[in-house]
Symmetry: C2
């Protein structure tokens, strides 16, 4: 492709509304343009990268035995009503009505449609297991679309669904898909991790996310230093401390803390170390039969953070977790948040494992501006429940039993689920079993954010000059930059020869034939992230040579004109 | 692919709601399933055909110098307001609002979005010409979706747009695209015609449609018997008769026609031949300054049909053409439709060329139940305008000057337009010209109904047993049908060998390994339309042979087992 006939669309300035580096670079490298909030046009070079991801995803899906199909973006409401998600889903589900005023949704995912399809088309256990997938435009009306294609309202996703007679068969396909996902991210040349994950609004039992590791990632992931164990921090188990609680050595005493409402203020004003105090958070419990919602206290060590997802799964709490208002807290306990603690507290109390092994600790006295020191469980506070309700921290023992945990940031690019019978039961999707009786199918679902992968790859592969594409994702294999082409006779001639020669060798070549200064052309090729640039200049031609620059390593080598195409082809293979 | 691991989904019965053969066969061959009115899921074998069309379309677009990009399905309303089409478009434009109540449309086409893109990204004449395209999901909320994917609400389209400094350059690209379209339909193996067409709601001056010829086609196309001339009947010019009008030979006389309101009834009851009478149709004229709409009479020969599009283009009529109500006609003329004619008619009268050369003809007397015979223009009726307002008929002289016209039916699968500056002017899309001054771009647009091609190909290529795919479109290259596989030892062994061997030879093989009767398997392969079927049976194996059936020709040949793969490969190349 000649740049003169292309839409290169590179930008010198960083657009002010782009917060993260991948969004900035995708705009600057001419990969995408914003049409409206969360809606992006893919320019030619951006689309080429997107298609490379799609191709690898398709190939690995086929290898895993999944069969491609294509479902509509527009989905009738009645299927979502059958599954119960028409009510459950928030406004992210973009609901529309057609000209006859019939309700539809623009699909963020296709569990309902595929389950409906399979219940109609598959009638016998002999047709199972079956894995189907599609690569498709999805819609999610995000409340705050951001980070470019990372969190867009219209995006490309690969979603696969598998159907089985029993969970053992599901487990087997799940493992094959897990491996297929690993293959995909390997082939894309990305540093990634599969991590144990929560199933969220999709549902099911077992689930893994696939994360591209990058400092800018929205998710925190906990890894074992010694094993393959990795989990999203919202799901990583905090092992109960093996040490027993020390016997009380201090008496319970109050002290005045008029200006200390947080652990940090307690430390600063009263010298209480964070791990010697506890935080008491008050939330609403589940609704009772008479429509009331009581309060529940959640207690974690001062240097720990509450894990909301873990709390939500406790019967005493329930989802969604909701912090109690100050008004309700004062009415029930008689003190404001900041002065709360377990001593004499007359609501259900859930104590994190790590807080439950503390002795002689500090907490609020349930009286404004007063704390206790020397608190000891069972002696001073009783009737509590112990559970895992905190986020793990670096150095915690790994739940796998080997090593300790490290925390890294990741961008979620894939998510696989053992759905079980959540959808098939709600939608009555069964087959005739071997015994001749109807049997509800069990399902898996497997998603990859195809367009998000493009952004995640850039978050992981860039420098201050632009994108450093892994070879599998680069929009072009090589660029030809002839220096001052219009001032010379032989430079255009030789550049054209290389353009023809490299194309004939099967390479995807970007030939920068613009009448631009060499600096402008070099900057553009670095910004776009073409892995190799072949520089053709007068001085080197005098020695019968051209220069090859490697974008990732920065390395430059001189090649003889006559053997250059062959050497480059070898290098790329 | 093994059928046992596939979703073949063939149906024995013809679904009752499928009106046309392509819709019936796409359902029966397991290519599509209806999700809701006008919304279809593409099953694996259907999607394979769709992708084959896409691939050929892409390759020819690239060869024509167009560059692929991808725009969102969801488009902001403000761009449509800028072009004026937010108001102009009917309810086919599916309008939606997002969670913040902002208006959007689901794109049926992308003139607005691409013009907005190019006006922002292209600033100089040096960047022109530029041709961009996408293969994308489009939405059109049809009032009556029908014929399966032929007229669906969500469908796949290739839309290309070109931008130029002047019309000469547009004309050049238009010709390149015209050729690219011919190449596409050639490669698809379809009998097609490019025809002169109206520009409709897209706009512009010159336009061609590409039609796949099929008896079930919705459009009538007029062809010259001697030249390449072809036009959609709505656009085909009816040449004014070369013969002069004969002099009057009869007097004007009335006769009673109480039960003859149509040309057919006049013929039956009074022996008036259709071509000796005229039809007088009364429509509304354009609104005058005081908001009134007068009536206009349109007169065509009794055996001719009014061409509404031609009438709409006359200043005296205007678009959209609207037939006057009986009430308004009676009020203005004093007689009901069925007894109208040009004699003494006090509203503007437009007479078709062929009606204007008639002498001694019959028409209504503008008095209920009475007709005139012996009418002669100028003597009995004056003050009329002559114009081309009828559909051409078989045998008319071709407007190209060579031969006469034939009429065939076609399915519109492509449409290309010289848009000129319709969108670029409305949306202020200009570039700096060579003279340093802003110059509005001129545009072309080029659409192909990718999913509709699949249906059109079936309309053209089928028999009572199923689909007869052209090789370029077939979902599989060859099927292997082992007869009574589970009753034999050597049959499965040899079938597996062929499966491996044909796949290794690069063929896309459907291996029917179901435990079905041979008849069921043969019927399915014919229905699906696999071009070749390799039959493996005991009796032929005794002679060391297998049978190869050709779906299109019905021909059967015996092949030696050892050389069969090589011979089949040669045949396919």
């Amino acid at each position: 492709m000649r740049t003169s006939q292309y839409i290169l669309a590179t930008l010198k300035e960083t657009p002010s509304d782009a917060e993260v580096v991948s969004h900035q670079l995708m705009l600057r490298a001419g990969m995408i343009r914003k049409l409206a909030s969360g809606l992006y046009t893919w320019l030619p070079s951006g689309l080429k990268v997107l298609r490379k991801v799609e191709t690898i995803v398709r190939e690995e899906m086929e290898k895993a035995g999944a069969i491609e199909m294509l479902m509509p973006v527009i989905q009738p409401a009645d299927l979502w009503e059958e599954s119960g998600r028409w009510e459950q889903f928030g406004p992210e589900l973009l609901r529309i009505t057609d000209r006859h005023n019939r309700p539809f949704a623009l699909g963020p995912t296709h569990e309902e449609v595929i389950t409906d399809f399979v219940r109609k088309e598959v009638s016998s256990y002999k047709q199972l297991p079956l894995a189907l997938y599609q690569v498709q435009t999805k819609v999610r009306d995000e409340v705050r679309p951001r980070f470019g294609v990372m969190r867009a309202r219209e995006f490309t996703m690969k979603d696969a669904y598998s159907f089985h007679l029993d969970d053992a068969c599901l487990e087997k396909t799940y493992q094959i898909m897990h491996q297929a996902y690993c293959n995909i991210f390997e082939r894309l040349g990305l540093d990634y991790r599969p991590v144990i994950a929560d199933t969220g609004s999709i549902g099911g039992s077992v689930s893994h996310e696939f994360h591209v590791l990058a400092e800018s990632g929205e998710d925190a992931i906990a890894f074992s230093t010694e094993s393959d164990y990795a989990a999203n921090i919202e799901k990583a188990e905090a092992i109960a401390p093996a040490t027993e609680r020390a016997a009380p050595s201090k008496d319970l005493n109050t002290f005045e803390t008029p200006n200390a409402k947080t652990i940090a203020e307690l430390a600063q004003q009263h010298g209480v170390k964070a791990h010697k105090g506890v935080k008491t958070l008050v939330v609403y419990g589940p609704e009772t039969e008479d429509g009331e919602r009581g309060l529940v206290a959640l207690i974690v060590r001062g240097d720990h953070e509450l894990n909301e997802l873990k709390a939500e799964k406790l019967e005493l709490v329930g989802a969604p977790l909701e912090m109690a208002t100050e008004e309700d807290i004062v009415a029930a306990i008689g003190a404001k948040p900041g002065s709360l603690g377990p001593v004499g507290l007359d609501i259900p109390v859930i104590v994190d494992h790590s807080a439950a092994v503390m002795s002689d600790f500090v907490a609020g006295a349930n009286k404004d501006g007063v704390h206790y020191s020397g608190i000891n469980w069972d002696r001073d506070a009783t009737g509590y429940t112990v559970a895992d309700i905190r986020n793990v921290v670096e150095g915690d023992p790994s739940p796998c039993g080997q090593g300790t945990l490290q925390i890294k940031r990741g961008i979620e690019v894939g998510h696989i689920f053992q759905l079980g019978s959540k959808y098939s039961e709600a939608m009555n999707a069964g087959v005739l079993g071997e015994n001749g009786k109807n049997q509800v199918m069990t399902m898996g679902c497997y998603g990859i954010g195809v367009s998000r992968i493009v952004a995640a790859a850039i978050e992981q592969n860039h420098d201050k000059f632009g994108i450093k594409w892994p070879q599998a994702l680069a929009p072009f294999d090589i660029a030809i930059v002839p220096m001052n082409m219009h001032k010379s006779h032989r430079i255009p001639e030789i550049a054209e020869k290389f353009y023809a020669g490299l194309k004939a060798a099967g390479l995807d070549v970007l030939f920068d034939d613009r009448k631009e200064r060499p600096g402008v052309m070099f900057n553009d090729m670095e910004l776009v992230g073409v892995p190799f640039t072949l520089v053709i200049g007068e001085r080197n031609l005098d020695n019968n040579q051209v220069e090859l620059k490697n974008r990732r390593t920065g390395e430059k080598v001189m090649l003889d004109i006559d053997s250059a195409v062959a050497e480059i082809t070898k290098l790329m293979a």
